[in-house]
Symmetry: C2
Subunit: 219 residues, 2 copies
Amino acid sequence: MALKSIKPERRRLADKVYEQLVNAIANREISVNDRLVQEKLATELQISRTPVREALMRLEHEGVLSASISGGFRLYQMNKEEIRELYQARAAIEGQAARILATRKNPDEIADLRETILREEDIQIKTVQNYFKANHNIHRRFIELTGNRFLLEMLNVTWGKAMAIHLFGSIAEVDLAKSLGSHMALVDVIESGDKTASLEAVTQHIQEGFELQIRHLED
Amino acid sequence: MALKSIKPERRRLADKVYEQLVNAIANREISVNDRLVQEKLATELQISRTPVREALMRLEHEGVLSASISGGFRLYQMNKEEIRELYQARAAIEGQAARILATRKNPDEIADLRETILREEDIQIKTVQNYFKANHNIHRRFIELTGNRFLLEMLNVTWGKAMAIHLFGSIAEVDLAKSLGSHMALVDVIESGDKTASLEAVTQHIQEGFELQIRHLED
DNA sequence: ATTATGTATACTGTATACGGTATACGGTAC
DNA sequence: GTACCGTATACCGTATACAGTATACATAAT
């Protein structure tokens, strides 16, 4: 006898609601003006309020949503200073990742990065969302390859906070394309094995992303 | 008339439960063998299960507790590899903080750090908890001074995950005292304004903390 | 017309009820 | 005694009920 274990974890409806909400935000089905109301969502999903509430509160704690005093949750809107700090935090995570990868100088990892970049940069339908997703996938891959689950978790949370900025901002495609094209150079630096240079390069890259972002918020 | 606004936020019982649980863990009132059961906690706190459940789930998502398949939550016990990754993540956060502070070279901030270190290193009752708290306060101050709320949040979450390791480990006092004494040197490097050296120094310091930790886990 | 006030409505937070699953335990067959 | 099985118990996840607070709107007072 060799049957697989079926349920290793406690299952929760709230997790599914959470995922659905994250996807809905990423696909711009929830806009900055929408108010997410527990009862409405619950009837829509054909479940009770409890798991809906749990998912909403989780997103609130993660800084994606904010609870309005008059009821309902909405996408948290960062101010410019918060965005600056968020990019600084991203630099911490991704800079460290670059250091780790540069120290290891693992050819498989380097090759994986190059592949990922080539694949993701090859965008067919040039929408802001697609640029956004490609960029996300590339940056996430850097962290995934470090194998550090906490760095990955921090990046995910950080990226979640940023969703509302990126998805509902108005960056021009041409700028996005240019920004997306600058990833391969980062791999070259990492491949050289210079961990300080790698950190500096990634930091610089993220700083440029921030400036691109800010320029378009000022309009 | 100039009355202060009373309730700017939605208040929730779950937040109080959360705080109480965090404090209880930090004060070693909850041990690694304890099983936290929703119903038991609820009757103990004289409230219903709902807010207790919310607080427990939040701590689960933060990686402090883990839900046992057979019911109840317990302190999450990291393995050695996870501890290593956690320290690596801390280095990301605190290394970036050091870079920021070194770049600014603000004399007020430098003075604040020195004050904090002197105050916290002056421990009256030499218990493991007290060393732990002092170390926490010093490291947190570095991040607080950057003014970056996300770095601070990440440090808090990271530190939360580490509570169970530190509090129930068995590091000798003498080692802790030595480790605690090495903070002032970090400030000196930051004061020099060399951001790379600052990052390296902090990384090195955290690496030493990790090795101290690991040495005592192997017993 | 504008301001104040009462009342309905919208939503929330907390408590409780209910059904299901997993462990614990005690009895029965060998 | 040991292996197996059935039932009791513990605990959870989800649904629902209930009470309190904030907004909206209509009505009354100036």
